[in-house]
């Protein structure tokens, strides 16, 4: 029972990371495409909350190595390279953002910080997607007899992983666009972000389709899993049907409904993914899989971990509520 509960907590952490961390990465991507005129909005919106947004990843990874060590080991062995690249991008974007914000002088160096922040935001979320794809693509071998390429390269270096990476980039940019609509102060700013959202939306659909196509043509596991789970298909349909509604909200400038709707979309996408995944943590290339029950630590560990997480939830959520209330209660554009 603890195994399932802990898995759910990890799922919640991942959903929150997808939404909050995604908005953060996406903010960097927006800057990359819209340019300097967006950067004061991004800084103002992100600065008080970005550190907290990235804690969800730390929580998820701690749960993984504490509660599901076998999955953590597979992840960090076969996906060593994309994880390292992801982490380096994380380091660069976080520090560049902080440096830009806190440097005592706002001179030429700001351009450099901005460039690093923007490119590494895009790369971070791309490599995150590439890494995550390997959990359900069925590209990781179930033994360690293969060549270097089979073991350490192919699991993440394939068309499917590329599609998932791009998909994550586009939806992060989309989430960030929606969040930033509530933060911009000028009419022209609102319109340029609005235009940007349409593009990210189009690209999300294209990359979303290419995820299925690449899985199908490379004969991977993902599309088979998806088609076997009507509930996942259902969430996919709802997410798509919500789009016209969100465009109406953007037009009528209903900031909170818009944010809520996008949050719901992301939640549904993640639920769709979890349904496919449950109870597997990693799907191997031979069609077998590592389930959460196989990977779970001993009962004593799961129990203690669950208690520690429960205490954490009781402390973190009220504190987070306070933080967001303090800084995000009133969107600037009424």
């Amino acid at each position: 029972m603890y195994t399932e509960l802990i898995m759910i907590v990890m799922g919640i952490s991942l959903v929150l990371y997808m939404i909050l961390g995604g908005a953060d990465f996406g903010a960097g991507i927006i800057e990359l495409f819209i340019g300097d005129k967006s950067n004061s909005t991004v800084s103002r919106a992100m600065a008080p909350v970005w550190e907290a947004n990235h804690m969800w990843l730390v929580i998820a990874i701690v749960i993984l190595f504490n509660g599901f060590p076998k999955a953590y080991v597979i992840l960090s062995t076969n996906l060593h390279i994309p994880i390292l690249l992801f982490l380096i991008a994380i380091i660069f974007r976080g520090t560049a953002f902080t440096f830009r914000h806190y440097d005592a002088y706002h001179d030429k160096s700001e351009k450099l910080y901005s460039a690093i922040f923007r490119y590494s935001s895009l790369l971070a979320v791309f490599f995150l997607g590439v890494t995550i794809s390997a959990f359900f693509s069925g590209t990781i071998p179930n033994d360690n007899t293969g060549s270097f390429t089979e073991q350490y390269i192919y699991p993440w270096f394939n068309w499917f992983a590329l599609s998932v990476g791009i998909f994550l980039v586009t939806i992060s940019a989309y989430i960030a666009g929606i969040f930033l609509l509530g933060e911009v102060k000028t009419e022209s700013g609102y319109n340029s972000i609005r235009k940007f959202i349409s593009y990210t939306f189009g690209l999300s659909i294209i990359s979303g389709i290419s995820i299925f196509m690449t899985s199908f043509f490379s004969d991977l596991q993902f599309h088979k899993l998806f088609l076997n789970h009507p509930l996942s298909i259902g969430t996919g349909i709802i997410v798509t049907l919500m789009v016209p509604y969100i465009f109406r909200l953007i037009k009528s400038r209903n900031i909170w409904k818009m944010r809520f709707a996008v949050g719901t979309q992301m939640l549904l996408i993640m639920i769709g993914w979890f349904i496919i995944q449950w109870p597997n943590l990693v799907v191997f290339s031979d069609g077998t899989s590592l389930t959460m029950h196989n990977a779970a630590g001993p009962t004593a560990t799961m129990k203690v971990l669950f208690i520690a997480l429960a205490i954490g939830v009781v402390i973190i959520f009220p504190a987070l509520y306070f933080l967001f209330r303090l800084f995000k209660a009133e969107p600037n554009l009424k």
Binding site: V58, I59, S76, D103, A300, T301, L320
Partner: protein, 435 residues
Amino acid sequence: MEDLLAARMQMAISLGWHIIFACIGMAMPFFMAYAEWKWMKTKDPIYLDLAKSWSKGVAIFFAVGAVSGTLLSFELGLLWPTFMEHAGPIFGMPFSMEGTAFFVEAIALGVFLYGWDKISPIAHWISGLLVGISGVMSGIFVVAANAWMNSPAGFDFIDGEYINIDPVAAMFNDAWFTQATHMTFAAFASTGFAVAGVHAIMLLRGHKIRFHKEALKIALIFGAIAAFAMPITGDLAAKDVAKRQPAKLAAMEAHYHTSKNAPLIIGGIPNDETQKVEYAIEIPGGLSFLAHGDFDAEVIGLDQIPEDERPPTIVVHFAFQIMVGLGSLMMLIGFIYFFMRWRKWDYINSKWWLRLLALATPIGFIALEAGWTVTEVGRQPWIIYKVMRTKDALTPMPGIQFSLITVVFVYSILTLAVIWLMYRQIKSIHEKYNA
């Protein structure tokens, strides 16, 4: 380069780098909260300025510490998967609690940095204090996990299987308390001396403004008090090591031959081949007394440790000498400081004193790194003491040297960037005060 060596170097660099930022993140929020407290009490704007300037430093150090810590949480698996597979469920509990503490720290820091006009002064001050408290808690949790590697507990290791796992017993292992207290005070001592030293340098360079004088006073109080706590907590830690890890103690002291009334060896160059320490000062019975509280107690030497279970004597011995030497120096400086305060000397304008503090800027952090080297290298060749060897924990992925080169490259850039940013922070203060 061999993968094992590359992986060990990468781990050492990542930890050694992170530890500096983590320690500043533990101690500096208290300096900042203290300054804010003084501002609330005196309404002297210089303290408000100080709290704000330091908070910018904390923000920069925290961000760097947070991202390098994220790297570490993955690096454990990237480099030592076999270790994590078995250790994860046993020693993971402090990490899961550290996650919460770290989260609170991030939230409290957000509130402190951006909430100046949004909440009451007292609430704001509390948020600053919370940054420090949760930072210290994070540090304690992480050190407790490290202590478990030195003092494995909370499981039975039978026929290569880890059974009867008890994560609570693992967290409260025999070493956690002595290691955590020693580390926490070390954070305050090293950060206090570094911050005081930087402000002393500024005063010496002719920026004779009150800003630096008040800053120096606050930082030095923390640094000096903590410096006195170092030998006490260090002594507890050493006695504990003597009991649990005789090999580590023997390497620290370059104590080759098991003996009663063992001498304390100061300095010297240990020679593994002749099993002698050349050019050392010896205090008869000193080691027996320090390790066991009795001048005639027997202290196990390296001769009783199987050859393939001995840590590298030279590294551990030198690191230990550096730590103790610099620690003693810091205590001496602390003593002079309290003496001058007691005699009401005008120390803040005394050139020789400022010069001494300026020279002492890095010594706390050098001692910290040396101490870390003692505990980590002193545990070798084990990753889990007496249970798993470091070489058996290594990732099967070849080519770790490329990963090492990448990490070195990234951290070198970041080090330069942080120095450059701090330089500019200070410069902006001087422009503000026309000093």
